[in-house]
Symmetry: D2
Subunit: 352 residues, 4 copies
């Protein structure tokens, strides 16, 4: 049997951290060698996430206590809050340059450090590392990811907008000035942070938009859409919160360019994703539900006619913790470590 890769998960007490552990436990080529969680250091993983009660896992440690040079790690997932991550990764790279890194935070997603500064309100603290970072949307950047040392895993909202839109933008099939993305997310998209707005009674039995007009995910969308178009693209994007745990659904309103019909757009997407394991385009006119990708690494995409001639409605659904975070991260790892891309990610959705 092939030797297993030694994997670390930084930030194992959050939801993307526990989701990484869930996926890695069924990955035949990985061994979980390190779990960090600063505020829970010294505790067992089972006291933080009782679903692992019956499983033997490394004890949680603090990041500062890790001997990076001596840990023998092949790859580290950073599931830490935005902002602190760049410092942590700088230290890891300095101490153990051979360790590959998949970062699930937003810290290395923006290639343009001045864009980072504009959106996040402070100068980037590892601009030299930013140059090496590769944006980890596998279906778009697969080739560069294979040779990357540091991959910036995309955001969940952005994945659910980029996967349906980038092929259409690349094909010059839609008007770039009229794209409206109305996005809806389950609560785990906000992580395990403890805020009044996240407690059950503030979330259940209700629905609302938030960050209307000024959500940080827009920076990522701007970057990827502009790269796909070869010129600046700015879209309208509104996020909403759904009283559910997992899932993002994007309802996207577009107008076909140069006579492209909704069926043409469907054909472009179908062809683009024909050989992809994790993106599936439904028959024309059908649209997806988040529940049917829950727990899986899949994105389902549908295209339908709008009633207004020449306009189409594109709907995409994924699980924000899997294809929108930890599953995508494992997919990136598989490429970086030379494993089969689908390894450990074969799970079908848990529905109902």
């Amino acid at each position: 049997m092939a030797k297993k890769a030694k994997i670390g998960v930084l930030g194992a007490s959050g939801y993307t951290g526990s989701e990484l552990v869930r996926l890695l436990l069924r990955h035949p080529r990985c061994e979980i060698a390190l779990l960090t969680a600063d505020r829970r250091a010294g505790q067992e993983m089972r006291s933080v996430f009782p679903q692992f009660s019956h499983i033997s896992l490394p004890k949680l440690v603090s990041i500062d206590g890790v001997n990076w040079a001596g840990a023998g790690l092949d790859l580290v997932f950073c599931a830490l809050p935005h902002g602190t991550t760049q410092d942590v990764i700088k230290r890891i790279v300095a101490a153990a340059p051979a360790i590959k890194i998949v970062d699930l935070s937003a810290d290395f997603r923006l290639a343009d450090v001045s864009a980072y500064e504009r959106w996040y309100g402070h100068a980037h603290r590892a601009p030299e590392l930013q140059k090496q970072a590769v944006y980890g949307l596998v279906e778009v950047h697969r080739r560069t990811i294979r040779h990357a040392k540091l991959v910036a895993n995309p955001g969940c909202y952005t994945s659910c907008a980029e996967l349906p839109l980038i092929p259409l933008i690349k094909a010059k099939a839609i008007e770039l000035s009229e794209i409206v993305i109305d996005a809806k997310s389950g609560m785990t998209g906000a992580g395990r942070a403890v805020k009044e707005t996240m407690i059950f009674s503030e979330v259940s039995e209700g629905f609302h938009a938030y960050g209307v007009g000024h959500h940080r995910h827009m920076a990522e969308l701007d970057q990827e859409f502009s790269a796909a178009a070869g010129r600046e693209v700015i879209v309208t994007f509104t996020p909403h919160l759904v009283p559910m745990n997992r899932g993002i659904l994007s309802t996207i309103y577009v107008r076909g360019k140069r006579g492209r019909t909704p069926a043409d757009l469907h054909a472009i997407l179908s062809k683009y994703y024909a050989k992809e394991a994790f993106v599936h385009v439904l028959p024309f006119g059908e649209t997806p539900q988040t529940r049917h990708v829950r727990g899986s690494n899949l994105t389902f995409i549908g295209v339908a006619n709008d009633r207004i001639e020449g306009r189409a409605i594109v709907v995409a659904a994924l699980d924000n913790l899997v294809k929108g975070a930890s599953g995508q991260a494992v997919q990136n790892m598989n490429l970086m470590l030379g494993f089969l891309e689908t390894m450990g990610l074969e799970q079908v959705a848990l529905f109902p």
Copy 2:
């Protein structure tokens, strides 16, 4: 003390029916004199809706058994399925022309009977009554409603789109060709119908769009928006289902016309609704949540800047069973019977 009006509720075993009963029980000028429910005829209301277990109410009867001429009713609410209602109302009007009627179905909402035929697939069976019917969106048609004999209560989705949009269309403040309405509804919008798609496990923990590109509510929107604009208006409208009981939220994307900014649109709406008891415009930049109008007859409207210059995002929220159905119906009744418009509708939202 003033004499109480005698009220009938047809279709009392459905959700809009029970919601009418809930509201009428606290209405100081109404007495519930008749409750019908064909399949439950002979049963007590409490066996169909146990929340009334402690209250004395008329026994459920079948519509066919009612002696309309002798019932002494002042007003009847029809909370029956679309399609059958027009026959029932024709019979009531023939037997007892003095009875006023508020119809909660879609049967009398389209003034143009050929539009009805196109959208519903059969000729209207009471076209002469359609001529008398008044569209019951109080804040827009208050004056004609006061003298109406038959009021067609608006749909829930349409109310939540018309209230924010009609003032803007009337003011010629927005581009009519670029309106996108992304609407989200709780499950009671689909009534108490028993279908596989409505069972708990098919609805909870998930989110999806439906009727993409071809929902019947569009006919109503076309009618009211075109009337407001003085010319044909067709909008993009996509309904979605939220795993919650009550509430509709519309996220509406518009572009200001002739230099109107989002703040200008906000000012138009604020002025239009300044004296209304049931429509409240939030401060500029704030957007509403469905949970904060739950159980009340209120509509909350917010307006925010889109990041794209000249475009605004308008968000409206209401309770589909109250302002979107039975509360609106009671508001119509209040006008038709000469009561104070807010009577029986003073309830604040039940949150959490």
Copy 3:
């Protein structure tokens, strides 16, 4: 028109506080004259609870800033956390002895201050006031409540166990050593506190027991059951959390004494509550659902045969924020101020 009583609500930024405001807004004899919320002092109520956006209410102030002697208040509701309340009430009583008080915390529920010390881990800081406090379960202590200056409003779990059990205990109809109370509560029972265990994703789509074997509500049960029995009674009680906002359901297992059958127990309860407005006993064999009392001040009680001869299953349901807290408190206020007991509490459940 009769003069309105001037009412204060201390702790208006919590759920029992907002629920008091909801109820008082429809109470014909009350005026909300004071709202406190220390951490939100200076803010409008609408910024803390947007459901009041359209309503004019006093600005939130801090408790320390209130001039009790000059405020002209008739009655104050204390909806403050356990522990701090006794100090606050001591100060109010010292400064303005005429103000009547309904305390929704646990601070004055235990007549025996040594029991308080045992369960809460510190000496009671207002033992002299404790002597005047009346336990506010109206259906049991109505007469003393009428003349009380300080009423300790019962807990939500305890109300839902005491209402079904006290009449049976008083009637000596059940074995006292075999009472098992399996209780289930919605999340608002835990208030608006911000803890990891209360965030949406930790609560939805799951069910669990907590405080197994050692929940503080037991002290209150011991007191009231022992008083009813005339000797010490200790029961088994297990609370659980249901992924819903409102509602408590108690499933209670009892054995009839001296040949009392389940039907006999049902008869005892039916008779005891025959004239009560807010406690309704269902027909024998039927059991209640929390959703059918949601938002109302009702308790529904059902009794059914266990399959084991001589044993009965008693099920009670109430809304923890209404009959389990703020509705009960208003009911107490109505008695203390000489109003009709049902005033402001006529609302039927909001279902669905």
Copy 4:
């Protein structure tokens, strides 16, 4: 590579059917060779369960059209409604005696056909097959299951009561006359049946008991508990519905016999399950949550002190569709076909 077993799933359009498909798709030694669904015959699995949209599966056929003798099946799962199953299995056994069968219905669970008749209201139609049927609670009947041709998979409620109680009963550690099982289940326990009581708005935001005093699962409990005790045992059992999809939690009240303390009971359970892969006993005093076993084949069991001396509270949690149905069924299959017992069932819970 070892040859794959050819597997059939009868009733693939229900939830236990789709769950079998989900599990079998990741089972390295199984091939799904047959899927039946009478009312959906001729359709693709993806039109009934869109989570399989991207996967190639046999088309749905009707049971009557299957050529059992020629199908080459090794094992068939029957996920059909109670009552019809016995006829279907009789025909399969007659046509193809070599096919092994795991039946997920209640039809073959009661060894005593007169008990079946009493609880189900009609004579058993395959009493000769009943004699061969083995009750498939693996942790209790593993040895006989290995050689069985027909296994009756236990019910979900019963599994969640038998796993914690049978070891205690076998050890003669608890009083048999005082066992109270208060059970709570998610909605998928009721299957995909379309009834008014199952639609979202009748289930969400509420909690209730049902079948109080007379639930059919009791027959199974009687059988297994009496077998473990060596004499007749009758328990109190009340099922409740939780507004969630998956999960059963049993709160069980017992009294230790001959001085057995709760800690003793914990020790008995810990020892009994020490080597089991799918039953995990938590540290003394901790109790489980359903969400932490969601989607996995695990049962978590906790034991705590009751406040009444000598009494214990035992809490068990499992996923009703996995360990309570399809996972248990695959575990049975693994034994019957000689595979590793845990094969295809390694999945950790999907939380959150």
